[in-house]
């Protein structure tokens, strides 16, 4: 086992921020969910007890009827902002004293860095290059991510959970978001940063980066597994497969929602539903493609003379 290798990666100055992210993320998830569960318990109590409903202030915080519902920004908010500023300033100064920003040799187009990596926050997209053509990984998927984020407020019709942490009232929304953010973004960043070595090959932590390793892995397009040949048969096979995959995903999701969240379906307009389903299916197809590649060595689902998916 060569732990030196992974340590070198983690200690690379530009990778230190990821370590910070990996510490902060669980901490804040804990902070969010501990409050969500507290609120959920309060909600359950209130749902069960109509009398309590009439009198309760409906937060988990101390409350007294005589207390003003609002406080002065000066000093109550400003002092907190001031303290936060001081802490952040001190933190940044200490970090900057302890760790030097990297500076490598002067740029040299003739000396390729292997692996050449984008800045860490883009390594999720670079990792997707393994699974998709560059125009999909580099252009289409980022657009879908941004489009999907922007659509969120307009497709989430659930009025509950506005302004407080909750899990039970928003399971589907919270679950979908965290899956996209944590698994499809942060985990991809981590793989791109810590797992990918020379030639963008997969090196487990503890494995030494072998610059001469040859990639023996052979991947086949999906149609090859079925013995399909020729441009048009391949084209229609791939198209059919993708449509079927999307259709099945959509249908299963629909059944799931119908069973578990019937009110959600009722409250959505057709357009909202279609947009939501689109983004959901895209997300699942990305996951299926990643797994198909890593586990089953499938290169492309759909091969055409112009592009591959």
């Amino acid at each position: 086992m060569d732990w030196e290798q992974i340590w070198k990666l983690v200690a690379l100055p530009d990778n230190v921020p990821i370590v910070l992210l990996l510490v902060l993320l669980p901490f804040y998830l804990w902070m969010a969910f501990s409050q969500a569960f507290k609120n959920d318990r309060l909600i359950a109590r209130l749902e069960a007890d109509p009398d309590l409903r009439k009198t309760h202030h409906r937060t988990t915080f101390p409350h007294h009827p005589s207390w003003a519902p609002t406080v002065h920004v000066w000093p109550h908010l400003l002092k907190r902002e001031f303290i936060a500023m001081i802490i952040v300033t001190a933190f940044m100064i200490v970090w900057s004293i302890c760790l030097d920003a990297p500076l490598e040799e002067p740029a040299n187009p003739n000396l390729t860095m292997n692996p050449s990596k984008a800045p860490w926050y883009f390594l999720g997209l670079q990792e997707l290059l393994v699974y998709f053509d560059p125009w999909i990984a580099g252009v289409v998927l980022p657009s879908i991510i941004l489009g999907g984020l922007m659509a969120i407020p307009y497709i989430d019709t659930n009025p509950l959970g506005n302004g407080y942490y909750t899990w039970k009232q928003r399971k589907f929304a919270v679950g979908t978001f965290l899956f996209g953010f944590i698994v499809l973004w942060v985990v991809m960043v981590v793989i791109g940063t810590f797992i990918r070595g020379p030639g963008w090959l997969w090196f487990w932590p503890g494995q030494t980066w072998d610059h001469h390793r040859v990639d023996h892995e052979v991947n086949y397009d999906l149609h090859a597994y079925f013995g399909i040949e020729g441009t048009w048969p391949t084209f229609f096979f791939g198209l059919g497969f993708l449509l079927a995959l999307g259709g099945i995903t959509g249908a299963l999701t629909h059944l799931f929602l119908k069973k578990c969240y019937p009110r959600m379906l009722q409250s959505m307009s057709k357009l909202q539903y279609i947009v939501m389903m689109q983004f959901w299916v895209f997300q699942i197809i990305v996951v299926v493609k990643v797994i198909a590649r890593l586990v089953f060595h499938v290169k492309n689902f759909w091969v055409t003379p112009w592009f591959n998916v």
């Binding site: 921020p17 992210l21 902060l24 804040y28 969010a32 409050q35 969500a36 909600i43 209130l46 749902e47 202030h57 937060t59 915080f61 003003a68 609002t70 406080v71 920004v73 000066w74 400003l78 907190r80 936060a84 952040v88 300033t89 970090w95 004293i97 030097d100 990297p102 500076l103 490598e104 002067p106 740029a107 187009p109 000396l111 860095m113 050449s116 990596k117 984008a118 926050y121 560059p134 125009w135 990984a137 580099g138 252009v139 941004l146 969120i152 407020p153 307009y154 989430d156 659930n158 009025p159 509950l160 959970g161 506005n162 302004g163 407080y164 909750t166 919270v174 978001f177 953010f181 592009f307």
Partner: protein, 304 residues
Amino acid sequence: MSHDDHGHGHGHGAGTEAPEAPPVNDTEGSLLNALRAKAEPLKKFMGGEYKETQVWKSIFRHKLDKSHRNRSLAVLSNVFLHLHPARINRNAVRYNFTWGMGGITFYLFVLLTLTGTLLMFYFHPSKGQAYKDIMYLQNDVPFGNLLRNMHRWSAHAMVITTWIHMMRVFLTGSYKPPREFNWNIGVLLLLFTMLLSFTGYLLPDDQLGFWAVTVGTNMARATPILGHEGPLGPELGFTAFNDVRFALLGGSVVDANALLRAYIWHCIAIPIIAAVLMIVHFWRIRKDGAISGHAPVMLESEVK
């Protein structure tokens, strides 16, 4: 008891007990007292009278005592503070709601603007010189290395805090009506924060930045329709010398023009875009009725 009496008595008493000392003590005492007397107006002035001067009143339009009125005015009559309302929901100031994440992100942006401006005094965005300037900053400029480190680490930190802020906003459902639009401003801020960081990556003109930007912009080659390796790109007449990647880099490879373009995007264009978006973001927080929570919980049985 006046200061004169006190000084005299002190001198006299000292004189009887220690004969050698009195003259010195006496003059010292009276000098001190004279000074004290002279300082009296200054003391009064510093003790509060300065607040009555025209200069002071022209700057601060209200008193600073603890009345409700003054606490409100302190916020409302200050151009920087009046981003805030005068009063807010008592639970909204709790750390565990926002985690201060949006505020920290903004503060990091301010820190980056300050350190970035200072870095600009030493940096020429030209091939060859850029790298030397970074070396100069690291090795010769007083605090230059600290400055560069602060700028780089604050940039990384800002990317992280923006992500975490977005997660917080999602988990509190704060994008729900009436805040849908502000969430979208936020998504644009997310994009521009990352582009800001990315354009800065090339500026030291070292191997790290060069290859990161080469890898990043290679994807632009494959843009559908607009890239020379993307679907329909070649059919529409795009080559390596006129496609969207060429426009980004000012050339077909990452070179002097790319450095200049990255510099202008990084130091002028994107900061302005981001600053404008932040102004809108903060304005909308106020207009959407301040921060969304901690709101009282809602019940499913009560919605229709």
